[in-house]
Symmetry: D2
Subunit: 241 residues, 4 copies
């Protein structure tokens, strides 16, 4: 079986302006995520906001089985044309793994149909991620929970449609909960939202987090119909009398 | 209990240009739907595309518990500002009942996050609507199926997210099936899509169809939290140590 | 509209043997729950394990719109015949609200098809219940969360089927989360599981808890098809050629 | 990757008593299904009702990744001990693919929690199976629908819980529809119900049907947590103050 082709997309702006982020991710978050996926045997390229067409040309997307998405401070700078291109690819089968603050990206909001709003707080608190669907491929290799020592808090209500499958729920030290792993079918594509990954913490170096992203990529890989057709069907399959 | 306040929205264009439609709905589809809902004790007003702001000013929407939507040939003529206004009201609790060719309306596509495409055929064929969730309030008063003698066919694949609750599946004489009654939560609002109602057939005069629309309106009526808040939460509910 | 007829069922054993429980619920938990529902305008009777046929004769069940269920130490003492009778009534439309340790009752396990197992701890800790489906009728009248000062902890993984609608998620001080409000359709009936209510705490006196149980009862009330038929259909509705 | 280990279970009674069935399946339905799965690279054994312990000893189940189940006239002859054994294995991760009249098997009813009743008719009619979740791995290799020339009709209402994922809906010539491909998580296990396969028709020789069963087996293969624990947790993960 040929390796899955993954494109790891990162806005890549915090890394250019914030010393804390630079220290944690000197080569950008995308590099750390990409390397982790390569170690899992996936074929990975990266792309960032500042690349031409954000690195997401039609050619790149056509050669991408699963796209991962991290964005935050520059959601509005992502061109609508690229968003539409990604959207069409998802409906046509490309997987999409949306990470952390990507909840507010144009592409995620467009695919969800809701505001995707939430509560948040930066207080160095502990996040504990609990598995609620223990037979799902995305949890393979985990125990029934794992901790992230320091993270930004995201709290309910998270304004998303009820997931097709809810995989994780997070507990936060400061008193909130969050649906932190959520799976969706959209057209022939699959979307996985995974919460962790604030830019000032070394979250994407953590083994469990890397495993979940890899599992998410494998789950979201194209797996359905080769094609679909819509529109006018003048000729009934059965006689109409 | 005060009566639910319903706004029945109709594009109202076919009625102006098509003799067949004029014959079936001389006062517009909205009039027939509105009267049916009034007979069920609801407080109903109507609005159409050609009204100022399509009849959907902020004042009207703020005084609307549930909006029903029929559109077809003029989806693109609905202003984006009005769509955004309706969208915000739905996320804030207003119910939305989308009828038939409303599947391609801007508001429905925005709330679904998918293309909402489907197969279709006009061949005067029989539609048989089967109940698949028999304890749902939307089926109250029905038998386990009912027939519409002549309808346009809509066939799968219907490109919607898997419904939170699938209530009806249609059988068509020409050989197709269709998920014809689908319920969704979006934000604090509820959305019910109901398939029947091609403009050249007297579908909205049929008692079962009127009952389902009324049941859908009652189900979609505001019923959740009075308000929600999002955003920064600097003060944890629990101590962080 | 006639008042909903509710039967509040309580095992009623802890109250007979445990001084702490007697102090909190001198007339039994069922009395407190029943009074709270009466104050909400419902027509309520109570029944307990020690009543003849556990107070759940066919006549009682036939006159019950919604049954609430609390049990714990004597699940095995509930007769299989009564369980089967309740089960048939649920499939035929009666609502069922299962409370707290009722997760391990015969009737809940039979309707879920899973072990319904979970983690637990008695440590006087705080439970914070978050709303995750803010448009659902069961949350009407609440804010976006509420606290129970002292409760038993229930933690994931909770071995239930993914709810048709997940309404609440609980946060616990000791580090766990729990899907604490879960809605299901079963046949023509509806089932609502609501977590709180350990026998040694005054949980059922708390206004929010009473409101949720009342909302759950109203949501679970019979609302679907009047009847259903199954089995042999020798005569096709359409010609087979 | 080691081949998935599949056990194809067949009641195997019709084949012993019915000449029509003997003609279609001279070596039993299980043989045809098993051979089809072997051609897809799976490691397959078969078991039948008349084998010792129905061929489903603990040893066999422990060495089974996915079990397929066909039963009809002898559901009641399946021992409760074997049903319990299969049930525990499913909750612990073994996949289960339930075929056709297996809808009334003890194991399926136990896992569903409902009556699993339906309408049926034997009239040699055409079944057309439509894909409604086009990105799901179970539909890989299909077109958007396929026909079975002659089948028994199964019609709604099908008394199952709403599937976690609804994959197929069937159209029947005589006027019914049916949710014919339904996916469920139960504990750490996965269950796929697939409708076709009446014993008097050569359905299990059809390529699309064989493909769907193979896809179903691959989807249902164990893929979640290695283990789960439940019960008393005396030591909180976080301090309780």
């Amino acid at each position: 079986m040929a390796a899955l082709r993954v494109t790891v997309w990162n806005e890549g702006q915090h890394e250019k302006t914030n010393l804390t982020v630079q220290k944690v991710y000197p080569d950008g978050m995308h590099t750390v995520i990409a390397n982790a996926l390569r170690e899992q045997g996936l074929e990975v390229r990266t792309a960032t906001l500042d690349d031409t067409e954000h690195g997401l040309t039609q050619e790149v997307l056509d050669a991408t089985d699963v796209l991962t998405w991290w964005g935050h401070m520059a959601h509005d700078k992502v061109s609508d044309a690229v968003v539409e291109r990604v959207y069409q690819r998802v409906l046509n089968g490309m997987g999409l793994v949306v990470l952390h603050s990507g909840h507010f990206s144009k592409i995620f909001k467009k695919l969800m149909g809701t505001s995707c709003d939430l509560k948040w707080r930066e207080a160095n608190e502990r996040e504990r991620i609990w598995v609620v669907e223990p037979g799902h491929p995305i949890v393979q290799g985990l125990g029934d929970h794992f901790d992230i020592p320091h993270e930004e808090m995201y709290g309910e209500h998270f304004d998303i449609p009820a997931p097709d499958t809810l995989v994780f729920v997070s507990w936060f030290q400061g008193g909130e909960v969050f649906r932190s792993g959520a799976c969706y079918h959209r057209g022939r594509g699959k979307v996985f939202y995974f919460r962790p990954g604030h830019e000032t913490y070394p979250t994407y170096y953590q083994k469990e987090v890397q495993l979940v992203i890899g599992n998410g990529v494998r789950w979201a890989a194209p797996s359905g119909l080769a094609e679909l057709s819509y529109g006018h069907r003048p000729n009934p399959l059965e006689p109409i009398t």
